[in-house]
């Protein structure tokens, strides 16, 4: 209390007086609300019937043009709109009923502390202790020890079964280094073929400024096409030899290529998306997933974005018939970084 006899804080004035709604006092307003609710429920019934009629009467492939939406499948629109009417009719009807006709006088419910009373706690502890006593937990520590250990371990076999049988991780390290570009000792160089058409490609087919999506010819024998493709996809570009940077990176890129034609792994060194966007003017390769940018004139080193490493280059040359071939696989693992990449 302050000097003036005023309390230190205001007092809660309690619930304000209830203000009646139109439907509380006026029977005509109440009747009107009743009619509105009934109309909404009726609308729902019509929607339901409309759905059933549409389902059986409208063909699957009829398309229709709807402003702002475009050409679309009529059946989907009809089923969706009728179902929506059916559901919204019930929803709006029920809420309108609650808001206009059901009591809107607020009710007060008392709260009680969440915590149990001391007696209840004591009782629960008592029961637990008595139970432990009856089970002779304290007198027989060996039961406690072995029981707890058994409980602690029983899930282990299930975990081992699950983790052990999901996949064979021991192959992860060697397979991460292999691609189907790898040429066995004394084997023939592998021809480059166009992705999709799978036709071999001559150096003379590659004009300056053009870009080709490339796979190894060996893809035709692949037993796991997607898995092999996921590591072997290559992007082939031809630059004017003078476009390459005048440094060791540019020289290396050129020397691993053929007359300005260079081939790089298409699998981003960031998280493995295909680096599919080649900008001819700047000789930049851009990954559409996270925008890592690689400079083809400098051996596809990263010039921007979240990737750290350059795209691995595939050494290429031509065979007797003038077709582009890769005499050896990639010199380093392709794709995203991983812990043992350098091992």
């Amino acid at each position: 209390m302050s000097d003036k006899g005023l309390p230190a804080t205001f007092e809660n004035p309690g619930l304000p007086p209830h203000i009646h709604r139109a439907a509380d006092d006026d029977p005509r307003a109440a009747k009107r609300a009743e009619r509105q609710v009934a109309a909404l429920f009726t609308l729902s019934i019509i929607g339901t019937l409309g759905f059933i009629v549409s389902y059986f009467a409208v063909p699957n492939d009829t398309t229709v043009f709807i402003p702002f939406i475009g050409k679309t499948i009529l059946l989907n629109i009809l089923l969706g709109v009728t179902l929506a009417v059916s559901l919204l009719g019930i929803g709006f009807g029920a809420v309108h009923w609650a808001k206009t006709l059901m009591s809107d006088e607020e009710v007060i419910e008392e709260r009680h502390p969440i915590a149990s009373s001391d007696e209840d706690r004591a009782k629960a502890v008592g029961i637990l202790n008595a139970g432990a006593e009856q089970a002779q937990l304290k007198r027989r520590p060996i039961l406690k020890a072995t029981g707890a250990t058994a409980m602690g371990l029983f899930a282990l076999p299930l975990g081992v079964q699950l983790a052990g049988s999901m996949g064979n991780p021991t192959k992860a390290l060697e397979e991460s280094k292999e691609t189907i570009w790898d040429v066995p000792e004394g084997g023939k160089p592998i021809r480059l073929v166009r992705d999709v058409e799978r036709t071999p490609i001559k150096a003379s087919d590659v004009a300056i400024g053009s870009v080709f999506h490339i796979l190894p010819e060996t893809i035709k024998d692949s037993k796991h096409v997607l898995a092999d493709k996921a590591k072997a996809a290559v992007l082939l570009m031809r630059l004017h030899p003078s476009s390459f940077a005048n440094d060791s990176l540019g020289e290396k890129a050129k020397s691993w290529g053929y007359e300005g034609i260079v081939a790089y792994s298409k699998i981003c060194t960031h998280v493995g998306c295909p680096v599919g966007l080649y900008e001819q003017q700047t000789h930049h390769l851009l990954c559409p997933c996270h925008q890592s940018t690689f400079d083809v004139t400098r051996d596809c080193n990263v010039i921007f974005g979240p990737a750290k490493r350059a795209l691995p280059q595939l050494k290429i040359t031509v065979d007797d018939e003038g077709y582009l071939v890769a005499p050896q696989g990639f010199a380093e693992p392709v794709g995203p970084s991983y812990w043992e990449r350098k091992k």
């Binding site: 304000p16 699957n60 609650a98 809107d104 991780p169 599919g276 970084s337 991983y338 812990w339």
Partner: protein
């Protein structure tokens, strides 16, 4: 049947009838109810439940939207399982969508096309499922914002906050798993990236990837496995946690906003029967109806336009569903310089931080917040009255700062789209967002806190000087003043009924004997945090202050604070 036997049967029935207070039920519903009650005793629980009072506020519907969206996902998801084939086995497409005729694709993709084009109404169900999933994550997030900014997570509701946090995190993973199932080019590229994420985990990354994918990416295991996770494992956990969440809401009784008649010891609102049954039940139909309408009119995830997954092609503007945007954005912002070589091993922090650590760290901080705040305030009381966000300026500012950081990451996921639309350099946008990620939250914190304090001061002004009535009065001497109307006690109560704790005094970090001790240092840290929280504060108006303001205003008789509710007209000369 003998007479004696039937007499005995009649006796038994008579005895039963005596036990039932209402007598034999007459209606069919009554008979069913009695049948059920005799076997379950449901009437006892029902009478408590049906009387349960729920306070009314629009923001309390956000959690309801999340709940209903989840139910709609479960419902439509069951439908989809009847036609979806979770297999990566290859087939040549023979369905009715002509542009893909004869193309080799997985059964998963082919069956998703069948659901979209050949199953009558299948497209509608698929689109409702997807839209409801998006709605689930949106409403769940906004519901969390509501709970955070009103302090509804405080004792005794910390457990429910943690459950909600886990639900929210699982919802993201559930969404990602479902989004990946159709095995189209876009989602397949997402899985491709996910494999890269796993590889970035230090030491075990390559093994994790090989275990999850059952061999080299993509293999043939990932879709069936994600299917099992998406339709069985995660839904079971989600439904279990959600049930626990609801039970705790029942046990705690719902929080309520401060206002006249509302106290820490009551809950003011409407009973479950009939008002909330109609409102909340009707609201389920509204949410379902709205999602259906959107699904009828707006295409979501047109997988037929993307084509089947193939590791080689990709489309520009590849993005995940919105709720994974922030993690994708983090990946775009983290510079490649964060990849290191340590003793010949590769540590790819540029990927690991954003793709693997971000989500669990973000949710751990979120889940821990109630405990941090409680430690700082040392407040061990139960709180059932919500805070108005302005009355907890530091908490509100922290929340806005966190949301700002999230938004920056989210925007970063669209750096390519922004670059194209705004004709700007993607490099500049990315660099700017990198800086903003650190700067914007600090700015947002400061601005929000100032806004909260201003609003609090404005509340004080309104209480002390009344509401501007817009009526100008000219006095006999020719002076003008605006008539201020005193607040009625109900309105005033809303503006004065809050607590504004003072910060704890900072100690020296030494105990009573002048020796620095661990406990004393901890106390000192706590005091410093308390200062951070509460050093800028606005206190609620007291009755004495109001009386003084009235006195200062030189007007008619001053009303006692708890005086009659009618508004007292009062003029304040300015």
């Amino acid at each position: 049947m003998s007479t004696a036997a039937s007499a005995r049967a009649a006796d038994l029935r008579a005895g039963d009838a005596k036990a039932a207070p209402l007598g034999a039920p007459k209606t069919a519903a009554g008979k069913v109810a009695v049948w059920a009650d005799e076997r379950t005793g449901i009437a006892k629980g029902a009478s408590v439940m049906l009387k349960k009072v729920f306070p009314d506020h629009w923001s309390f519907m956000l959690g309801e939207v999340a709940m209903y969206s989840m139910i709609i996902c479960l419902l439509t998801g069951v439908f989809l399982t009847f036609w979806f084939v979770p297999s990566m086995g290859e087939v040549a497409y023979q369905g009715s969508y002509l542009p893909l005729k004869g193309i080799t694709m997985s059964e998963a993709y082919s069956s998703t096309l069948a659901i979209s084009f050949d199953v009558r109404g299948g497209l509608l169900i698929r689109q409702i499922h997807h839209w409801a999933a998006l709605m689930f994550v949106v409403s769940l997030s906004v519901h969390m914002f509501r709970v955070f900014f009103t302090g509804a997570f405080r004792k005794p509701r910390e457990i429910n906050w943690v459950i909600g946090t886990i639900l929210s995190m699982l919802a993201l993973i559930e969404g990602f798993a479902g989004y990946s199932l159709p095995d189209d080019l876009l989602s397949g590229t997402g899985i491709r990236a996910a494999e890269g994420f796993m590889r970035s985990i230090p030491i075990v990354g390559s093994w994790v990837s090989y275990i999850v994918f059952g061999g080299a990416f993509p293999g043939e295991a990932i879709i069936p496995r994600l299917y099992s996770v998406h339709i069985l494992l995660l839904p079971a956990i989600l439904v279990g946690l959600f049930a626990a969440h609801l039970i705790l809401v029942m046990v705690h009784k719902h929080t309520q906003y401060p206002g006249p008649g509302r106290t820490e010891n009551n809950v003011v609102g409407f009973p479950l029967m009939p008002v909330y049954t109609a409102k909340a039940g009707g609201f389920f139909f509204l949410v379902f109806g709205l999602l259906t309408l959107i699904s009828a009119l707006v295409t979501i995830n047109p997988i037929w336009a993307y084509g089947p997954y193939d590791p080689s092609p990709v489309t520009a503007g590849s993005q995940p569903d919105w709720y994974m945007g922030f993690a994708d954005g983090a990946l775009r912002l983290l510079p490649g310089a964060l990849e290191f070589e340590i003793f010949g091993f590769t540590l790819s922090l540029n990927v690991f931080l954003g793709a693997i650590l971000l989500i669990p760290v973000m949710y751990t901080i979120t889940g821990a917040y109630p405990f941090i705040e409680r430690w700082v305030t040392g407040d061990n009381r139960e709180h059932h009255l919500l805070d108005r966000p302005r009355n907890a300026p530091t908490r509100t500012a922290l929340g806005v700062a966190a949301i700002t950081a999230y938004i920056i990451l989210f925007l970063a996921a669209g750096n390519d789209i922004m670059a194209i639309r705004l004709q700007m350099s993607i490099n500049d946008i990315t660099e700017a967002l990198r800086v903003l990620f650190f700067v914007a939250p600090v700015l947002a914190f400061w601005v929000t806190k100032r806004i909260c304090l201003s609003l609090q001061r404005h509340d004080r002004d309104t209480v002390l000087h009344g509401r501007e009535s817009g009526t100008l009065v000219r006095t006999a001497e020719g002076k003008y003043y605006e008539v201020h109307e005193d607040l009625d006690p109900y309105t005033r109560w809303k503006l004065v009924s809050f607590e504004s704790p003072a910060p704890i005094a900072i100690g020296s970090g030494k105990d009573a004997n002048g020796v620095s001790s661990k406990a004393a240092k901890k106390e000192r840290r706590r005091a410093k945090l308390s200062r951070f929280y509460f050093k800028d504060r606005v206190e609620p108006v007291t009755p004495a202050e109001l009386a003084a303001a009235h006195h200062h205003g030189e007007h008619e008789a001053i009303e006692a604070p708890s005086a009659a509710p009618q508004a007292v007209k009062r003029a304040k000369q300015d």
